[in-house]
């Protein structure tokens, strides 16, 4: 399988990474080289094989469904590029 220029731009939009027009060809050839490499998996017969969900046979631990953390909003927003009154600030989303 290989990707065309339109698909490269679509992937960029899905990944929320701006791809400039002059970058498309470069990404296209790199992505196609990797997809070409991946293609050899087609040789493997996986009939009846379960996909791996965990490398060690373990049941995911669950904790009690209670509040166990929190109460420090100033620490949560301490690294934000823009914050006010312990809220993250973003450009207007709804008119």
């Amino acid at each position: 399988m290989s990707v065309d220029a339109t698909t490269v731009k679509r992937i960029g939009r899905l990944a929320r990474i701006r791809i400039e027009e002059h970058e498309v060809a470069g990404y296209q050839s790199e992505i196609n080289s990797i997809l070409g490499f991946i293609e050899q998996l087609g040789e493997v017969d996986v009939t009846g094989v379960e996909p791996m969900t965990s490398v060690s046979p373990m049941v995911l631990r669950r904790r009690d469904d209670v509040v166990s953390d929190g109460g420090y909003p100033e620490q949560i927003v301490a690294n934000a590029p823009l914050a006010e009154d312990n809220f993250f600030m973003v450009p207007k989303v709804v008119e």
């Binding site: 490269v8 990944a15 992505i31 040789e43 791996m52």
Partner: protein
């Protein structure tokens, strides 16, 4: 006199501190001096925390005086920039985490400080641990302390833990933390004549470590000797309820296993690791390693791991897929860099375009593609099925009586910075991890130990792969190789 303290192994430094031959403050001072002299040339550290280091050393001296020393009391360590360190530079060597100083401490580093270790600073790495040469860092490449005989060209230390490996080899810390998703501890260790172990998945907590591919990421140490690596591994390991994949089992005293020997152990030799075009010196090193283990009483057994060749292509589906999901959090809102745009989507796109480097963007895009509607089963589910088969290969070998597996660690010695062949083809660089990546896919422990040198005097390593949670056998077998090789793997100082 003081600079000589940096040449001590971690174990010897520990002894010197408890014997009061020197103080933790003197030891830390010696390392800070060495960093100041070397870092402009090697670029191994991206942040040096001198004041904090001296304060921690002073506390260590007080505890040493009172006879309350922890297992790593006063030992100066370098920390890979991937580990969250409270109030200290933590950027995964990426521009997108510009200025990020976490409000928390990762569990692994907290364990080290609990045991008395001292933090010297944060170590350079490939951006978000994506790379095999430490050339994708926002802070520029790390320069290896090694040079090929008769050449002045700068070489790579490997990656992604290139800063960790270079700093340990060049005596800029007594040991370092590192992480390994496809080979990022073992490959740089092999290229710099150091010892690096990736423990079993679940042995070290991933909490507070910047995530790359969560089902593959594991922390581990890089050190100058097998014993030093074992001492660090014991402190770094342990159950952590904050990581749902952390395994609740006792941590052995790994250092106690180092001199156990290999008598009666069965060492597997997988025929699929004998790759086409493998350099003669790698082949020779491998044979030599087997002879050393045999001479110490191990039984050598040919084995087959038939799905080996599919590990790397499957990895380049699983790892980018998980990365594209993990790295979605970098959006210019919660931390790090923000580039303003005309609306919020524009801001996301511009921030991520400016903040991520080329290799990271490429992997996010691959991951986004293989997870996108219509392709999920063909790529991701298929790769996870192949992963089941890779793991079964190892299980079959272990069930047939194999205790550990010996392989080369890398397909070659260190290469030059800016290598044109590797830069032109992403897949050529990915092949650096061909011997190490199977271990991550199966969640097994693997150790790289220096075993010889190539024709130009550059270090070469061997890899031992173990059963789940049997790191002790790896330390014992690696020690036999270290002892049998009996070579000086330190670089000739040029910086």
């Amino acid at each position: 006199m003081l600079t000589d303290l940096t040449k001590l192994s971690l174990a010897a430094a520990r002894k010197g501190l408890t014997d009061k031959s020197f103080s933790a403050s003197e030891l830390t001072g010696a390392y800070l001096g060495a960093i100041e002299a070397a870092n402009p040339a090697l670029n191994a550290y991206v942040a040096v925390t001198g004041e904090q280091a001296l304060a921690m050393a002073k506390d260590s001296d007080a505890r040493l005086a009172k006879g309350q020393a922890g297992p790593l009391e006063g030992i100066p360590l370098g920390i890979k920039d991937l580990f969250g360190t409270k109030g200290v530079h933590t950027q995964a060597a990426s521009h997108i985490l510009d200025g990020f100083k976490p409000e928390y401490e990762s569990t692994v580093t907290a364990n080290l400080w609990r045991d008395g270790a001292v933090m010297l600073g944060k170590l350079n790495m490939d951006e978000f641990a994506m790379g095999s040469s430490n050339e994708t860092s926002y802070y520029g490449p790390v320069v290896s302390p090694f040079k090929a005989e008769g050449s002045n060209a700068n070489l790579v230390p490997g990656g992604s833990s290139g800063g960790s490996a270079a700093a340990v080899a060049a005596w800029l810390c007594a040991g370092a933390t590192a992480t390994d998703t496809g080979g990022s501890i073992r490959q740089p260790a092999a290229l710099t004549g150091t010892v690096g172990i990736k423990p079993t998945y679940g042995r070290c907590s991933r909490w507070g470590v910047v995530a790359f591919a969560s089902s593959l990421d594991q922390a581990g140490p890089i050190a100058r000797t097998v014993e030093d690596a074992a001492l660090l591994m014991t402190s770094m390991s342990g159950f952590d309820p904050k990581d749902s994949t952390s395994v609740d089992m006792a941590v052995p005293d790994f250092a106690a296993a180092v001199e156990r020997g290999v008598k009666g152990l069965t060492i597997g030799v997988p025929r699929e690791y004998r790759m086409d075009g493998m350099p003669g010196e790698i082949e020779k090193l491998w044979t030599q390693g087997l002879e050393w283990l045999k001479a110490e009483g191990a039984v050598i057994k040919d084995i087959s791991l038939p799905h080996t060749k599919y590990a790397l292509p499957a990895y380049y589906i699983v790892a980018p897929a998980e990365a594209s999901s993990n790295l979605a959090r970098y959006d210019g809102v919660k931390f790090g860099l923000r580039v303003s745009g005309k609306d919020i989507t524009d801001m996301y796109e511009l921030t991520r375009a400016a903040g991520f480097g080329r290799e990271v963007k490429r992997r996010i895009m691959i991951g986004t593609y293989v997870l996108s509607a219509g392709y999920f089963d063909a790529y991701y589910v298929k790769a996870q099925k192949v992963r089941t088969l890779i793991k079964k290969d190892f299980e079959d070998a272990f069930h047939a009586g194999v205790d550990a597996i010996l392989t080369p660690a890398t397909p070659s010695a260190a290469f030059g910075i800016g290598d044109e062949t590797l830069a032109a083809d992403p897949v050529a660089m990915y092949l650096q991890d061909v011997f190490t990546v199977t271990v991550n896919m199966a969640g097994l422990p693997g150790i790289a130990v220096p075993a010889g040198k190539d024709g130009k005097g550059l270090p070469l390593g061997l890899q031992l792969i173990g059963k789940p949670f049997d790191e002790e056998t790896l330390f014992a077998a690696a020690r036999v190789i270290e002892k049998s090789a009996d070579m000086d793997f330190s670089p000739k100082r040029w910086w």
